[in-house]
Symmetry: D2
Subunit: 411 residues, 4 copies
């Protein structure tokens, strides 16, 4: 009976690089050694690095964004051995809380250089840019994007169980085929990459294997979730994750203070380090019983919420900016939808990079509206009007405010 | 001062075909004659046919769905000349109400034959199917999909102003190019089609021109909106529509009692005939002042609403059902997301066509979750748990209920 | 199979007084003859007069408010015999829809003369006043209270089953005792009143009895509900009503387009005539099984909704305007809370009667906040900021707008 | 630029009694010395004791509840001198966050002994009782009230500025008059009480004065707020507090993890110690400009939220449990409403004290429904159905579950 503080299952040491700490890893592989056991039905706290492992500073230059080393990202906390979990089970993970570290009350949103990572709109906005966000309790605001302020819908960008050897092989096969067939002038997927692979507590021999075979953490994948970047997989959510190996080998990381649907600038959420509180429950034979091949979840009951009538909503279609008609392409449509919002925000004096950053991280609603009316997919983007401290309704005459600027690369 | 009933600007005559009534048309063309004037700031009621113009019956056979004539669809009410509207203006349309006809308290949802219209999942579900929905005040339920019931988020599938000759030419150019380049074994767009073209009150010569040039009504298009099929463009919404011709030549139709994001089965909303009440306000020079090329809108403040924690949410990725990896394809991802939901619903005894129909018309939330994590786009589909009269949470042991069947083609 | 329009169980004839129509009555009594049968599980439409039976006009004078005859109010539609209902059952009534008559798209809110009805604040605001509201689809606005507009949360003020003879006797006993003991300079309850009693289709002898014994319709009462004036007992609600006599003898009336918590000006909702669609289901032995003595309900899922952060909220305590401390008196506290809101709204140029009318009928949230901190009860009143077309936040400098005036008595 | 942790303005020392710590006080008086300065626009963290100052233990006995010393309660943190604040100003306080202490993840709800504090229903439930709540991130659950779990709407029960000498004198006058006039067999208010008065850092002489004159902290009061116990004055809220003395002398305390409207069992919220993060902004001459005599607030945008259709709602009227008719008494009505809910919950096996505790602390909605229909006030109580892990809808056949018991006094 009585007071009981929750156990912290792994801690971040900010005095040395994440790459040197055994409690973290940055590839998906079944052989990465577990860093500890968690009982069925146990609640633990897990500390997490920000997704760049500390490469980005709280300053007014985007030089660090331009120079980010993408082989070093996503130092995930784990993997954890969840007791009693076996392949075919479902691991039910309840997200009981997510908090930034008390002494790091800030996060960042970046637009990557088109030549180093890029983003959803990099054909149009190829330069690096950055916004720093200060956390004010449940709210955040940015000196780089004035006149907006909103509460966070805080969540992990990544959580998932380790792939089995078979699942990993399938990932490498299908992504390898995509890479092989690629004719676009850009990377379409990232193959295994030994450089800067961090295999946690693996010994040298095992580390070599993992570095050679391990799947990159950038994409989410249907078999286990991973880097889904789902904005409302927030506090109070329950997620049902397929188990592929004994003990599940669960990992988590890439915490976000807030994100907009699509996380369009790639480094697009409000990225932060912090602490997540999770409860683990094993549902035996869950995959068969639920008939599921991919994760599913029930969001939490606590969200920032604006009334339905408080969203200024833009429409976009699968006709690209050169006037080319695409066939039912929701990706093209959503890009157009985002561009319409950026164009609209110019009337208030925001520069396009500020708007691009804002749409990436503010709680915007990106919907598939129509996906059957050939040849045009239609998507919508709902921008919550109440995050602005001025009136953004179309019929209100706009006044240009002093919007300053986001951070750019030093000249 | 005193009581004033709202004027009805056009009425449906159900005693004869829509094609024989001058107040309606089924092509987009600047030369279709206006059927009446509406003053700036006026409120009017407009009667609308269902989108098939009455081809579908309230019965238990999908024969009519199989045999639907798609050249005869979308008899839109209009066009209306909005006084003072000129090209470059924005027409602000407030949707004050939408109601079914009192003596037609029902609607339908169909899965088209893959050979005649098809739908988003027609590779997997090629057969025609149908569900009839009975309206119970604000609610609806279906004898063809038992154990669900939900309130409508009632809205027009189509509204928009006429294209100018230049806009129309652009549509025909770009869609023609797509058709010319097509190598898929399916229609990717619909070119102008003289058969069954209805040009409203046009005389024979003009009708011939319109039939030859007029754009089909199936797709929404960025310049004017049109068939956007946006589920929350419902009562109380304000939509800002670009004006391309003098008088705007506004048309509306294709009323829906409810729709799910994507309207996936194509004939996917709960289709109905009814009455819409609209207020029209001309915003002079609105396109330049708002910096907008496409419609935008603010939804109404009245929606059915479930708490955020009441959506069972499925994830899907751009890996198709053959295991092929696609590059950042939100359309592929959303198809997979839908399939995950259909697979899940099998555990309660629904057949796949019932679930396909349900996802098309119930108020499901289809979100772009992540659109930057190469190579996988991730989309989500939130299914409101409270529309079912049994508990669909994953950890609740399912009981198979008597789910009957949707309507299929007669044997 | 097929189209089926819903049966209308009783119709209003606006060509003659309600008092002359047999389908209506204005007293509660077990012996008022049923005007028709409704089957268990049947859905019907019921037409209703406004609560004054047409005494108030759509004009700019409050003379009719001043002169209203309160013995003539509440012509309820019914009573209906619900088949299979017996004492001890619960009658589950689902409110499927409520609509104004299409040719009467308006309603009224009144402040009664202190000498004829009065209201919650009549010590401070004793004069008659009135506002007319025009319905614009789901919205309403008033020429008498400019710069506000809101969607209705439409509902019946009154619904309930007839009392048994025993229940009626209990009502007359306890209210009689209150009247006998009264030392306040105002009416504290209304005893049976033969004048203008309308007993529906009763013959002369029965009518005399009913007129002598019948309970007035003004108060709600715990045994059956009645005039509860609950603002969110709206479309989609299910209410569970105790049955006291064979056939239930259900009645309904006093439709409201909208109301604020408390309905403070007495004639305080937006009062209207209209049509309500109800479904009736008998739950056998429901009172014992649910352990209930009073009605309970589950509201509908469709409400106008503003985010929680969009309510300007006033606090009030049980210290009256003379500085007298009352003991835990939530009624006194709520009166003070209303006064604080009225005082605040003066800064925008509203006169106090306009604000009084507005608080009565707009969707304000009146909460019991603290009821245990002796000696002060604390209540709150949340005013939705989004119903105003200007910014009412305290830190925004107010501009006085032309607020015109509500209707007063002609000079 | 860069990381900056928020300053903590006062800390709790749990190694000694609150009464011995200078940063806290338990009376309202203008002369209590300020414990520190806070700049205009500054954000600070403030640590707070639970309202009993640690008298209640995390155990299974209500002995401590029975024996609580009510002269020792409400050790408030402060008072703080807010720079630039002068009488007539408004102090705008934004609640940026509230958190329990990390090593005290629990709280308590108590029913006081009728002879020592009592509560809203103490005539019916006079015994002491207790429930301990464990915090699970944003959720809480109790071993004493099984089968419920809900997220907290965390807030301070008390915050306010010091009264001026004049305001304090007015409080003592009017509450003294109430006490003098009292004929009820219970305390109706608490006069100044020297015993256990804690005047913070006051010297002996000043302490004597404060102990003699200082107002008790139990009631909220219209001039400054104080113990308002408003459940949605939670994170993200902005409250506008009148300033009566130079520097405002702001104090805060009595943190609640959750509360139901009315906080009916008096020790009725989920009481906890913790940390509150506040931002202070002085609005010069705010009282005159806002025309306000009492605090007002705008709630935060982040609340647990259930759809409107997920509240089982009880009705109550001003007829008491002896059948006596009261005149328009919302306090009587709300007591009856609470009793209806308690009676209903018996069908699931909860004992009445469990239900009484639950209604006190769960996020129930207590509304003033009708306050004008003489003689009956009508109030409603909305119980969120989704906090239960079983179906509490009336038409679902109840199964009695093992509900254990809340804590009672040891025998």
């Amino acid at each position: 009976m009585g007071v009981k503080e929750i156990r912290t299952a792994v801690k971040c040491d900010f005095s040395k690089p994440a790459a040197e700490q055994e409690g973290f890893h940055n590839r998906w592989h079944p052989d990465i050694p577990s860093i500890g056991k968690i009982a069925n039905n146990e609640v633990v706290k897990i500390e997490c690095f920000d997704w760049t492992g500390g490469q980005i500073g709280n300053n007014d230059s985007a030089d660090d964004i331009r120079d980010v080393d993408l082989t070093k990202i996503h130092y995930l906390s784990g993997p954890f051995h969840i007791e009693t979990a076996e392949p075919g089970d479902i691991l039910l993970v309840e997200i009981q809380d997510v908090q930034p570290f008390q002494d790091q009350p800030w996060g960042f949103t970046g637009v990557f250089d088109k030549k180093n990572g890029g983003g959803f709109l990099d054909d149009i906005y190829p330069e690096p840019a950055k916004a720093i966000w200060d956390f004010e309790g449940i709210f955040c605001s940015s000196r780089h994007i004035p006149h907006v302020r909103f509460p966070g819908l805080i969540h992990p960008g990544i959580l998932g169980n380790a792939p089995s050897a078979e699942v990993l092989a399938e990932w490498n096969r299908r992504e390898g085929e995509l890479i092989s067939a690629n004719s676009l002038p850009r990377d379409v997927a990232k193959p295994p990459e030994p450089q800067n692979a961090h295999a946690g507590g693996a010994d040298a021999e095992l580390k070599t294997k993992i570095a050679r075979e391990g799947a990159r953490t950038i994409p989410g994948r249907p078999e286990h979730g991973g880097n889904c970047d789902i904005k409302n997989l927030s506090r109070g959510s329950k997620i049902y994750l397929p188990v592929h190996v004994t003990g599940a080998k669960f990992s988590v990381g890439d915490l976000h203070f807030s994100e907009g649907d699509g996380e369009i600038s790639f480094c697009g959420a409000i990225e932060m380090a912090g602490i997540i509180t999770l409860k683990f429950t094993v549902l035996k034979d869950g995959m068969a019983q639920m008939g599921t091949k991919s994760p599913l979840y029930i969001p939490g009951p606590v969200e920032p919420h604006y009334g339905p009538g408080r969203y200024l909503t833009f429409e976009g279609f699968s006709v690209d900016e050169q006037g080319k008609q695409h066939y039912m392409d929701a990706t093209v449509a959503y890009r157009q939808t985002c561009l319409r919002a950026i164009e609209y925000l110019r009337r208030y004096g925001y520069n396009d990079y500020q708007s691009y950053l804002l749409l990436s991280c503010a709680p915007i609603q990106g919907h598939i509206a129509g996906i059957v009316d050939i040849p045009n997919a239609c998507t919508t983007l709902g921008l919550p009007m109440d995050i602005f401290d001025f009136d953004i309704r179309p019929e209100t005459k706009p006044e240009k405010l002093d919007m300053g600027s986001c951070a750019f690369v030093d000249k």
